[in-house]
């Protein structure tokens, strides 16, 4: 993974500045709530902004539920959201939860209709190789790292994976995520906590095994042997 590290280190300084783009759609952003209002009356530019803020998270969430069909199910989700948009009342945070719920229902229908089980895109062995990308201190900027991260979360037990994704990736709070999942907020917190614990433990074990655990600064030299 020398190239990834080089790229990552080279952008270490910019990584700080780009931290904003890691969470561009900050929960409760007033601009998006206003855009949402405008979109409800048919303003397409406003809708496009809302779409771009919400869709990546929705798509990633759906990959856990329907794997490669995420694009299709996301399209179905937006189609329904647009049809029912006039009935929606609330700000952008409420909208995220609403869309997540629609997405989840469409995903369930999709699995029922097609009989296809969601497939984890990469096996654990492959993911173990990719885990080293997270040992750098810089923000992981490559899209590969993003896909790998989602795939790793997808290996968690389903309820933990959903809880983590709805909260971290779709930006819902525990109560909103609970409404999507039909659970209490406390149960969501527990599930997401367990999910993160599992992920953390797996990452640590994987990286220790691969010999790239960055226990101190001298550990970076081993990085390139993994990929």
């Amino acid at each position: 993974m020398v190239t990834v590290f080089d790229a990552a280190f080279g952008r270490l300084e910019k990584g700080r500045a780009l931290a904003d783009s890691v969470r561009p759609a900050v929960a409760g952003e007033d601009g998006l709530s206003a855009d949402l209002e405008a979109a409800r009356t048919g303003d397409e530019a406003a809708f496009a902004r809302v779409y771009r803020a919400v869709q990546p998270g929705l798509y990633r969430y759906l990959t856990v539920l329907v794997g490669r069909d995420a694009e299709d199910v996301a399209a179905e989700t937006w189609a329904q959201a647009c049809r029912d948009l006039a009935k929606f009342r609330g700000d952008i945070d409420g909208f995220r939860g609403w869309v997540a719920r629609i997405g989840r229902n469409r995903a369930i229908d999709h699995v029922r209709a097609t009989g296809r089980r969601p497939v984890v895109a990469a096996g654990l062995e492959v993911l173990a190789n990719q885990a080293s990308v997270y040992t750098t201190e810089s923000v992981a900027l490559e899209s590969l790292a993003t896909e790998a991260a989602i795939a790793m979360i997808a290996t968690l037990p389903r309820d933990q994976a959903e809880a983590v994704l709805l909260r971290a990736v779709m930006g819902l709070d525990a109560a909103s995520a609970g409404r999507v999942l039909g659970k209490r907020a406390g149960a969501v917190r527990t599930a997401s906590y367990r999910g993160l614990q599992t992920l953390g433990t797996w990452l640590e074990a994987t990286l220790r095994t691969a010999g790239t655990r960055d226990s101190d600064t001298s550990g970076a030299a081993d990085a390139d042997e993994v990929r």
Partner: protein, 291 residues
């Protein structure tokens, strides 16, 4: 360096909210999971379809600054918004005004209004080969404004509306190429059936040519450039002209669209607000084969 295999509940809550304290690999993983720079083409490929769905639900988009009442045609909207005094212009409004708006050659405030109303080029960005997508969805003569079957529409929307300074013939096809390539990468054999790609198929000269066309013309594929996200989007992005056919030199296409591949939800070609059947002289050929 912080090294603990077990995280606390508080840390977990912090991490889920985007915090940075915790095992660094886990922090990095979550950051990667939530990063939208760059968002992949696959993630944003559905924007065209979503906008179509929005149009289907809202046949007459209301200008964001004028939410008070629905006006039947965007052209009338433009006039009412900015040129109350020149009612004569409105009454006599023909394609000429719309074409002028489309080529960015109206005077500043009018161009700006056209820009807001139906995505004509901004003042100062005169573009000679970009006829405006259908400026209005409804007029009394236009027939049904809300397409009953949105799937059959020819959207103009593309993932990126960046006026590209790159070598691409026009930005919208580049955006479609990216989306298509992402679709192919996902083994979407049916990607080309998506009506959003009809423009691309036309430009390439057939479904089989799309791959080579994109290889030749598409910008090098960063997956969904950050520029696409940052770009301000017009409600109706400018129509994109085909590499081969400029509006000045209309040519027919296999599936019957004029060079301005800019159809609107109700399937009307670019520059006129009238219905798809009858074109004033600005288009020499038309999808329906009428000169």
């Amino acid at each position: 360096m912080h090294r603990s295999p077990r995280i606390s509940r508080a840390e977990a809550e912090s991490l889920l909210g985007g915090g940075t304290s915790g095992p660094p690999e886990l922090v990095a993983l979550l950051r990667a999971a939530t990063s939208t720079s760059p968002a992949s083409a696959a993630e944003l490929a559905g924007e065209a379809q979503a906008l179509m769905a929005l149009r289907a639900a809202h046949p007459v988009p209301v200008h964001p600054r004028k939410r008070t009442r629905m006006i039947k045609s965007a052209l009338a909207q433009l006039v009412a918004a900015k040129i109350a005094a020149t009612a004569a212009v409105a009454a006599a409004a023909t394609g000429g005004v719309v074409l002028a708006a489309a080529s960015g050659s109206l005077p500043g405030p009018l161009q700006d209004a056209a820009h807001s109303a139906f995505g004509a080029p901004e003042p100062g960005h005169a573009q000679h080969s970009h006829p405006v997508p259908n400026a209005t969805t409804t007029s009394d003569t236009a027939g049904p404004s809300a397409p009953s079957d949105s799937e059959s529409d020819q959207p103009t929307v593309q993932p990126s509306t960046t006026p590209s300074a790159a070598a691409t013939p026009n930005p919208s096809l580049a955006g479609l190429c990216k989306a298509y390539q992402a679709g192919v990468a996902n083994s979407r054999g049916k990607a080309l059936d998506n009506p959003a790609f009809t423009v691309l198929i036309t430009a390439a000269g057939g479904k089989d040519n799309v791959l080579t066309y994109c290889a030749a013309h598409a910008a090098p594929g960063t997956s969904g450039s950050a520029a696409a996200i940052a770009t301000k989007t017009h409600g109706r992005p400018n129509a994109s002209t085909h590499g081969n056919a400029q509006p000045g030199s209309q040519s027919t296409h296999g599936n019957g669209r004029p060079g301005s591949a800019s159809t609107h939800g109700n399937g009307q070609p670019g520059s006129q607000s009238t219905h798809g059947n009858a074109q004033p002289g600005s288009q020499s050929t038309h999808g329906n084969g009428r000169p």
